[in-house]
């Protein structure tokens, strides 16, 4: 579904991402781990089009998206979340969830003042958003400003908002950062449920390895901008090089 071929990103002399190749097969949950500063988040930004690569090629669903803009890549079904909750804080949970939906009739300035032109679609979308917010346990917070949610709820809202964009592949950057352990497990259970019921593919950066290892099909490990290992969770846990750079053993 997603394939990176020798992708690099240089900031001056710094090689943040250095010749990375990886594959994310359809319907799988793939983990991306590595110490801080290893280039994981930059790699996610390259895939999502928010940062342009210095070299290499990125293919999504058979299309070359290397030079496409973030909004074009989103339209193809590749959706990312951010490390820090990147919500629209002075908007309600419901409005946050509704925003990613493509081709909304009421988003055209010529249609917007005449609500009979978009009322029906908005009604359908509002019901769908209500269902998604229920699904991520925010059914009681639809009218709450995003700024007034707890850290964990913000992460859940970001996940819910991503789902409203009808993603084929979700890139999640530390979905459980700052979240209580019990809720962190819930988030991963939601991810597993979404893969099973909707066939969504996931690439997840996560530092809580004890949770991540329970849910992923396979993992990539990055260090100093390069992929140093790839494999099943058990193999990665046993990999000497990984243990040295990641666990300091």
């Amino acid at each position: 579904m997603l394939e990176l071929q020798n992708v690099s990103k240089h900031f001056g002399n710094l090689r943040a991402v250095d010749g990375v190749s990886l594959r994310v097969p359809q319907g799988q949950i793939i983990g991306l781990i590595g110490p801080n500063g290893s280039g994981k988040s930059t790699l996610l930004s390259l895939m999502a089009g928010t940062v342009q690569p210095s070299g290499g090629k990125i293919l999504f669903d058979g299309h070359d998206i290397t030079r496409q803009t973030a909004d074009q890549i989103f339209q193809r079904g590749l959706v990312r979340s951010f490390q820090d909750p990147s919500l629209f804080f002075r908007m309600t949970a419901l409005d946050n969830a509704l925003l990613p939906v493509n081709a909304q009739r009421g988003e055209r300035p010529t249609h917007a003042p005449w609500h009979h032109l978009w009322r029906q679609q908005e009604q359908t979308l509002a019901s769908r958003a209500g269902g998604v917010l229920d699904q991520v346990q925010l059914g009681k917070q639809t009218n709450t400003l995003a700024a007034n949610l707890s850290g964990g709820q913000m992460k859940l809202l970001e996940l819910g908002r991503s789902l409203m964009g009808a993603p084929k592949l979700l890139l999640l950057d530390e979905p459980t950062a700052g979240v209580a352990p019990a809720l962190a497990y819930t988030i991963f259970e939601q991810i597993e449920h979404l893969r099973a019921t909707q066939g969504i593919t996931f690439l997840i950066i996560e530092h809580r390895l004890e949770i991540l290892f329970d849910f992923v099909d396979s993992l990539y490990v990055m260090h100093l901008g390069k992929v140093i290992a790839q494999g099943k969770p058990d193999a990665i846990a046993a990999n000497a090089q990984v243990r040295e750079v990641y666990f300091g053993e």
Partner: protein, 351 residues
């Protein structure tokens, strides 16, 4: 000096209506979409310059008369001609006025779109604020020195309001005030509908975090260009009413102070709230009129200093106090604005 309370009230309502359109326009651009338009005076002036052009070129043609140069040696003759047409040919006068509104809205919108587009693509909307602030002054200085638009520094008089043909000046002023307030009311309804639609949601998302809006598939530069078109078109309409109300088009009326007046209105009323824009416009208009009347009375009583400038001190103090103690304004932005919340009904728990 006696004050004619009825005439003063009509004048106040007219000024309020014009200020309300300007404030709603800026609230849409900055309060809702987050675009700091410091060139509001430019877009208002476009309405005035358009009126200057239509009243001197289009109006005679609509009346079947030859166009006379309004600035040179035929100044008096041209003035007499447009004044006569407005007094004796109501249909022509009204048609000319409606066409002026449409052209001003179109040109205002296009200039807003064109001026904003390159700067908005820099992804730093504050550049646009500076570009428009400077652009506003440059255009004003050029118009002041370039005769063909509104006769340069002399300006153009006899830009009569569309009910000038009524012999009763009180009645014509009353009708004009009614027209201004009706248009302001329609602009309010339009802005309110925009804000409560999915487009309003989109504008707020661009205001809140343009990078995230882009990553969610939204073309931020295009959206900002659109809202600058709409806001500037509304400001152009306000400019037509502004110049027709005073009857005189002068580039010196469209200084940075006008832009700042509109900013004070929306900060005082409440950013992102259309009702706040109306309240701010009303309060600032009242203060503006009160200081103007006081200045006249003080001059009549022989005071040597110009009280009129006290308004600038007052507005500055209001701006500072609001930003320090109540940045959300007198009427803060409502939490739930889009209709989706009503549609979802009681499923969510309001906070």
């Amino acid at each position: 000096m006696n004050i004619d309370l009825f005439a003063t009230t009509i004048a106040l309502l007219t000024f309020f209506g014009i200020s309300a359109i300007m404030a709603l326009s800026l609230n849409l651009e900055y309060g809702v979409a987050g675009i700091p338009n410091f060139g509001q005076a430019l877009f208002v002036s476009i309405g005035a310059y358009t009126a200057g052009w239509t009243y001197t070129r289009l109006l005679p043609l609509l009346a079947g008369e030859a166009v006379i140069d309004p600035c040179g040696s035929t100044l008096g003759q041209a003035l007499q001609l447009r004044s006569t047409i407005m007094k004796t040919m109501p249909t022509v006068g009204l048609t000319n006025f409606v066409i002026t509104l449409l052209i001003a809205a179109l040109i205002g919108g296009l200039v807003g779109y064109l001026a904003s587009y390159p700067a908005l693509r820099l992804k730093q909307e504050w550049y646009l604020g500076l570009v428009l602030l400077v652009g506003s002054e440059i255009v004003r200085i050029v118009v002041r020195g370039y005769e063909p638009i509104i006769c340069g520094n002399n300006g153009l008089s006899a830009i009569a309001q569309p009910f000038h043909w009524l012999r009763d000046s009180t009645l014509s002023s009353l009708l004009f005030a009614g027209l201004v307030l009706t248009v302001a009311g329609l602009v309010y309804l339009y802005c309110e509908r925009l804000v409560r639609s999915p487009y309003g949601r989109l504008l707020k998302a661009v205001r809140e975090n343009d990078a995230v809006a882009t990553s969610l598939g939204k073309d931020v530069a295009r959206i900002r260009g659109q809202i600058m078109f709409i806001g500037s078109a509304l400001a152009g309409v306000a400019g037509v009413f502004f110049v027709v109300n005073s009857g005189y088009a002068s580039a010196n009326d469209y200084v940075v102070a006008l832009t700042l007046d509109v900013w004070v209105m929306i900060v005082l009323g409440g950013l992102g709230n259309n009702r706040g824009a109306l309240l701010g416009a009303l309060l600032i208009t009242i203060l503006d009129r009160l200081t103007a009347i006081t200045a006249i009375r003080m001059n009549m009583l022989g005071f040597q200093w110009e009280f009129n400038y006290v308004r600038y001190i007052l507005f500055g103090v209001i701006l500072l106090l609001m930003l320090r103690y109540r940045p959300q304004g007198l009427l803060p932005e409502p939490t739930q604005t889009t209709r989706a919340h009503e549609m979802l009904g009681a499923e969510g728990v309001a906070k």
